[in-house]
């Protein structure tokens, strides 16, 4: 099985293809199309082998859900209830975080903060509603720099009640891996160089758990492509040669359809972008999909290969706009403003930070594996004094400054926020996101209504940065 199959499957085929996993996952036991149906799934985290590299490369030992990378695609309809029984077949504790879902705090999957971690051999049942349609994903929040890095993640797709008309609805879970020549994962997780610089980036890139060869398409078809960046640290900047993708959603939340700046779709770690890809090339044509994010290090991710016969003369006209999700609109004028400063890392000039309430110089911090800070605090673990305590129902602006030389995708749990401005310049579309990529030295203002009670993680999603201090808690009460 090559990536051709992944990409070429129709949705029906996709589900059939995922059938093994979905069946193992005990797909929806007797759920009918009734309102507020509950959809049941099972996930088992464990060690397995998978083929990341094409033949004759060896198989790779990974940590995975239900034996595959990515884990099974959990598909539900907007408004449905999701129930996932998670079994821990790992030799260490784990949890599952439902990234981007606005769910009850106790279902958020943050060890010690929202639940007791799931011990080896134990189970935990997550149950929550899916209020927003869109592209989400799930992954552990326990030692995520290694657990996610070894392959524990999967897509969670919440379908619109009336999905837009497309020929195919596809998901690409993007990841990179640091492999040794033996095709096994290099075990240097938490390496100082990665932690202190851009995080752990790999030396191969995969789509849906395979180094892809080709992506089979047909002239005249319209594809909805859900991009999910599951990498620890790699930022993807995708270009579809001679094609003009339209962005229709960021992080599961609809956005005014638009073409990406410079034709390049940028996804920081944990971000999702839904695009509409109209196949305007000729039958038999071949076009590259390249990742050009890191200057001087571009590579071709996959090649789009057109079938010899067209599906129709040309793709359907007109952009697709998704119906908006029921998000509370922040009152910007009346919002309380909070300054948030991210510091640390190489070339950051940070002299030290507070660790466990005590000012600690950077050398001592580094010996404890801490190199990053939020508002002068380098956090260890998940149970923390809140950076801010917000009254439930009130509006807030987080005025964030990246005072470092590195990129940081900043994720807030339990909420989506509007991105108001970058370096003081208002954003054109005030997009909703749950993970916003901050460029080095950039200032970004975000706003949201604190309408979901609980202690919520607020952290960099470069998982090495998160583990090395760039993490905090925002309390809504």
């Amino acid at each position: 099985m090559s990536i051709v199959d992944h990409a070429a499957w129709t949705r029906r085929g996709f589900l059939t293809g995922m059938g093994t996993a979905v069946l193992l996952a005990g797909l929806p036991g007797g759920t009918g199309p009734t309102a507020a149906a509950t959809r049941d799934f099972r996930l088992r985290a464990g060690v397995s082998k998978t083929r990341l590299l094409p033949e004759p490369g060896a198989e790779t030992e990974v940590w995975s859900y239900n034996g595959r990378v990515p884990g099974p695609a959990l598909r539900v309809r907007q408004g449905e209830r999701v129930r996932v029984a998670v079994a821990n077949g790992l030799a260490e504790e784990t949890t599952v975080h439902w990234h981007g879902l606005r769910l009850p705090n106790r279902m958020d999957g943050v060890p010690h903060l929202t639940q007791k971690p799931i011990a080896p051999g134990e189970n935990f049942v997550y149950e929550f509603d899916a209020p927003d349609a869109g592209t989400f994903w799930y992954h552990p929040h326990q030692r995520s720099f290694e657990q996610v890095g070894r392959g524990l993640y999967g897509p969670l797709i919440v379908e619109e009640r009336e999905p837009p008309a497309v020929d195919r609805d596809l998901t690409w879970v993007l990841d990179d891996w640091r492999l040794l020549p033996s095709a096994q994962i290099s075990d240097d997780f938490g390496h100082f160089h990665d932690v202190s610089h851009s995080g752990r980036l790999g030396n191969i890139a995969t789509i849906n758990g395979r180094v892809p060869e080709t992506f089979a398409v047909r002239a005249g078809e319209r594809i909805r492509l859900r991009l999910i960046n599951a990498a620890n640290a790699r930022i993807f900047g995708l270009e579809f040669a001679e094609h003009r993708p339209w962005i229709i959603a960021f992080d599961g939340q609809p956005v005014e359809p638009h073409e990406p700046e410079g034709g390049r779709i940028v996804l920081g770690p944990a971000m999702r972008v839904d695009i509409v890809l109209d196949m305007t090339g000729p039958p038999g044509g071949r076009f590259g999909v390249t990742d050009s994010f890191y200057r001087g290090m571009g590579y071709r991710l996959v090649e789009m290969v057109y079938a010899d016969t067209a599906l129709r003369p040309r793709p359907p006209d007109g952009p697709i706009a998704l119906p908006s999700n029921p998000l509370a609109e922040p009152d910007i004028a009346g919002a309380k403003r909070h300054e948030i400063i991210f510091g640390g890392g190489m070339m950051g000039m940070m002299q030290g930070a507070r660790v466990d309430g005590k000012w600690t110089d950077i050398r001592t911090m580094a010996r404890q594996g801490l190199l990053w800070a939020i508002n002068g605090v380098a956090a260890a673990g998940h149970v923390l004094e809140p950076l801010a305590a917000l009254r439930r129902g009130s509006s807030h602006v987080l005025a964030m400054t990246n005072d470092t030389a590195w990129h940081h995708p900043i994720h807030l749990h339990g909420h989506s926020f509007r991105v108001l401005s970058r370096n003081g310049v208002p954003t054109r579309r005030r997009e909703w996101q749950d993970t916003v990529l901050m460029n080095p030295r950039e200032r970004v203002d975000i706003a949201f209504v604190a309408d979901n009670p609980g202690d919520w993680m607020f952290h960099c999603h470069v998982l090495e940065h998160q583990a090395a201090g760039m993490t905090g808690v925002i309390r809504v009460a």
Binding site: R178, H191, D194, S198, I204, R295, M347, A405, W406
Partner: protein, 146 residues
């Protein structure tokens, strides 16, 4: 396999075949660095100013490069340079490199661990003498203090 980044190819070649770099002309250096690290580029420029020709190779796999060249964890710096058959780890001042290349001791290379302030390519004042260690298969020994 063509989708595998050049980096892996390089790493595989190096790791897979015990390549030595003894044939390299001694004034030519190959410097592996993180693509976003300005200090490492500043160090490459420092080498050029001091008479080396330098090929910079951008990589996200520095931990693999360091492992290939037997740079022990406690001796790691930021970038890794290959010159004259030796590995030079981190922001080593050029005087010590020149001494290494003229003495040609039977070691793998030398390292200035960490990223000390004031060292070539690094900002800030020099706060203390730099201790440069030998990279060998045994425990680290001091090669130079400057």
């Amino acid at each position: 396999m063509r989708k595998i980044f050049a980096v892996l190819t390089i790493a595989m070649m190096l790791i897979g075949s015990n390549v030595t770099v003894a044939d390299e002309p001694s004034r030519h250096a190959t410097l592996y660095r993180n693509p976003e690290c300005g200090c490492c580029e500043a160090y490459a420029e420092y080498l050029r100013k001091n008479g080396f020709s330098v090929t910079v190779k951008l990589t996200h796999s520095l931990p693999l490069i360091k492992r290939q060249h037997n740079v022990q964890r406690e001796l790691e710096g930021c970038h890794t340079t290959l010159v004259g058959g030796y590995v030079v780890e981190g922001h080593v001042p050029v005087g010590t490199i020149n001494r290494l290349l003229s003495e040609r001791p039977a070691i793998r290379g030398i390292s200035l661990p960490g990223m000390p302030e004031g060292s070539p390519g690094m900002s800030g004042p020099k706060r203390e003498p730099f201790t440069i260690y030998e990279i060998t298969d045994g425990s680290p020994r001091v090669y130079a203090v400057e």
